[in-house]
């Protein structure tokens, strides 16, 4: 049974379907768009990022590549500089270390170093996040790591609707975009998603601009700023808190670079209380950036702040410990209560 809103839009879709739809649309529209990555052809992407693309577009445009991230991400840079529009997948963001020079010293810097005479119109897609016990080398988000380094636009959608519009923008953009999709949100059969990410999604193409945070829930008491999976945990916490009489505003950053400081500031000016929730490591990361941005812009607006993030340890394997380090709905609720006091 669908709601009237869904009727208006046509249907709902998982985040993975929405992403693939955008990619397929762009591949149809422009022969220069192609996808490369490990297991993106017959497998359809370990996290369903390329389901069905091989069938429609063939091996030349949906390319399995050697386990040589430096070589193939660098090849994407080279192809992009030649004017093609590659989408290249790094299977887990945790593998960035084998290819970070191509990502960061070439992909991200060549436009600047060339004084704008070269463009690098590529999208680097990569899976992020934990919650399924994949341990220290396969569970990180590394949001802060990528957002810290200039030259890349950094996108991290939390719903199918956003995922599609941001993917269209990413592919059409002449700049390198790092598109971080959270495994837990994709709607993969073997990794059930929460309810939130599956949203109504228009069939036609549309672009969502980077750098516009989305107020996923309005509230007057406390501002929660977050992204990715934790948008849904924050929304869940907000429901609980509403029963306690605390009205939480939940801001989904949607992109880390550019960062929409304005929307955050506006909300804090209203609520005075700021909680930042992040699935990345606590220190020198997203939480610090959001809080200090507000402090720098309007210190007086801030009455209380709190950050909720992964404490500064690698992600442990065993479930009780992983659950302890990745912020849960309860952790968010508790932080909101504590700043609300």
């Amino acid at each position: 049974m669908s709601t009237p809103e869904q009727e208006a839009v046509g249907r709902t879709a998982t985040m993975s379907d929405a992403m693939v739809e955008a990619v397929a649309h762009e591949m149809r529209a422009d022969e220069e768009v192609f996808y490369m990555g490990e297991d993106v052809a017959d497998y359809g992407g370990i996290f369903d990022s390329t389901t069905g693309l091989l069938d429609e577009f063939g091996r030349d445009r949906v390319m399995d590549v050697p386990i040589s991230e430096t070589a193939y991400l660098g090849a994407a840079v080279g192809a992009a500089q030649a004017g093609m529009r590659p989408i290249a997948e790094l299977m887990f963001v945790d593998f960035f270390g084998v290819a970070m020079d191509q990502i960061y010293n070439q992909m991200a810097k060549n436009t600047y170093m060339s004084g704008g005479s070269f463009s690098v119109p590529m999208v680097l897609t990569t899976a992020v996040g934990g919650t399924y016990n994949d341990a220290a080398q396969h569970s990180q988000t590394l949001y802060g790591t990528f957002a810290h380094l200039p030259g890349m636009k950094v996108v991290a959608p939390s719903t199918a609707y956003d995922a599609k519009g941001l993917m269209h923008n990413a592919i059409r953009d002449d700049d390198p975009v790092v598109y971080m999709f959270h495994k837990r949100l994709m709607g993969i059969g073997w990794l059930p998603a929460p309810d939130g990410p599956k949203t109504p999604v228009p069939k036609e193409d549309y672009t969502i601009p980077f750098g516009k945070a989305d107020v996923k829930r309005e509230g007057d008491d406390v501002t929660v700023v977050t992204l990715g999976l934790h948008v849904h945990r924050a929304l869940e916490a907000a429901e609980m808190l509403a029963d306690e009489g605390i009205e939480t505003e939940v801001i989904d950053l949607r992109t880390l670079k550019p960062l929409d400081r304005e929307t955050v500031l506006e909300s804090v000016r209203k609520t005075g209380r700021l909680v930042v929730v992040d699935e990345d490591y606590r220190s020198y990361g997203v939480t610090g950036e959001i809080i200090s941005s507000v402090a720098e812009a309007d210190l007086d607006s801030l009455e209380a702040v709190e950050r909720v993030a992964v404490p500064d340890v690698p992600i442990p394997y065993s479930r009780p410990m992983e659950d302890a380090v990745i912020p849960g709905t309860d952790d968010v609720a508790e932080a909101v209560r504590s700043v609300g006091e």
Partner: protein, 352 residues
């Protein structure tokens, strides 16, 4: 030439059967609680699980030449190698079940097994166990001991920079290192020929002026011979070897892998080429009878059952334990005190 003695055949057979039964048991345990509808984040064994059924020959054929003080690094598919290297099976199993008494106190898990007693370590990042193995070889050379180091990797990993750089570093210093490539024809869904040239991975050695050899059949005795030569060369100070071994992937890449990309004939072919059956047949030729083989299998089954039973009785870690072990020493290092002359003015930043 290091031909395997009948006793060595027995030892290999026992470890291979142990590894096979272990993987089959883990498969059952893993699936339990994940159904219906396979949810990877539920069940007794957390996370991903990469099983090595069909790759046992490559493990025993090399590791049975090793001592405890020799180092082995294994990749994401490590159990058979760990068993052949005599990693503590109970604590390893407890680790895989995420228990407090596991090898890594539940912090590492199946892709990150560490056993200092037998110098065994893993990494889940393709080929990145190679450089640390080279480092272990370097340490042996510097200390003038005759320890050797072995790095295991898959055939898909031979395209990765970390492996290729390691070949040069080991070669230019004549280090006691053996690189063992387990060629199971597949890197997840990607067949070898789609992503790698040449077909024979041991040819990579040619570009680094290094010994390279491929064991072209999934035969523990043949691997044992080639492994003996490679380990012997390393131990005697005659430099590194790249050894590729044909093995067979009998299961999916990881548990839950639908293998829809894999032709049925290929799956059948892999199933038909069982190195354990082959070794058993050879053993019979050496006069080892079915009863003895049966006894070995029983022993192996008991050992596996004991380890799993023990592991499942172990407690889960406390949530707060997540905060331990980021460091060995305190954060401040070996001291928490400013040095004494700190007040002498030296600490104040000089004379400007």
């Amino acid at each position: 030439m290091t031909t395997a003695s009948p006793d060595q055949l027995r030892r290999m057979y026992e470890d291979m059967v142990t590894a096979r039964l272990y993987e089959e048991r883990l498969q059952d345990e893993y699936m339990e609680g994940k159904r219906p509808g396979f949810d990877i984040s539920t069940g007794e064994i957390p996370g991903e699980l990469h099983l090595a059924a069909g790759q046992e020959a490559a493990a025993v054929g090399v590791c049975h030449h090793l001592r405890d003080d020799d180092t082995v690094t294994a990749p994401h598919r490590p159990h058979h190698v760990a068993i052949a290297k005599r990693v503590d099976l109970k604590r390893m199993t407890a680790e895989i079940f995420g228990r407090e008494t596991g090898l890594c106190s539940g912090k590492g898990g199946h892709m990150h097994l560490f056993d200092p007693d037998v110098n065994f370590a893993c990494s889940g990042i393709i080929a990145e166990g190679c450089p640390p193995a080279v480092g272990a070889g370097l340490a042996a050379k510097k200390r003038n001991t005759d320890s050797v180091a072995v790095a295991y990797l898959g055939e898909g990993a031979i395209d990765q920079g970390g492996f290729l750089e390691s070949l040069n570093l080991a070669s230019v210093h004549d280090l006691p290192v053996v690189f063992v490539v387990e060629d199971n024809d597949w890197a997840i869904s990607m067949p070898k020929e789609r992503v790698t040239r040449p077909d024979d991975g041991s040819k990579r050695a040619d570009g680094f002026d290094m010994h390279g050899v491929r064991v072209d059949s999934d035969d523990a005795r043949a691997v044992y011979e080639a492994g003996g030569e490679a380990v012997g060369r390393a131990r005697d100070g005659n430099g590194p070897t790249l050894l590729e071994v044909q093995v067979h992937r009998r299961m999916g890449h990881f548990m839950g892998d639908p293998e829809t990309y894999r032709p049925e004939e290929d799956q059948e072919r892999a199933a038909a080429r069982d190195s354990i059956d082959r070794l058993a047949a050879d053993m019979r030729e050496f006069g080892i009878d079915d009863q003895e083989l049966e006894e070995i299998r029983d022993r192996a089954a008991n050992r596996v059952d004991e380890a799993v039973t023990w592991a499942k009785q172990q407690p889960l870690p406390e949530p707060e334990a997540a905060h331990d072990h980021a460091f060995t020493n305190p954060p401040e290092g070996v001291t928490s005190e400013e040095p004494e002359f700190a007040d002498s003015g030296a600490a104040a930043g000089g004379d400007d």
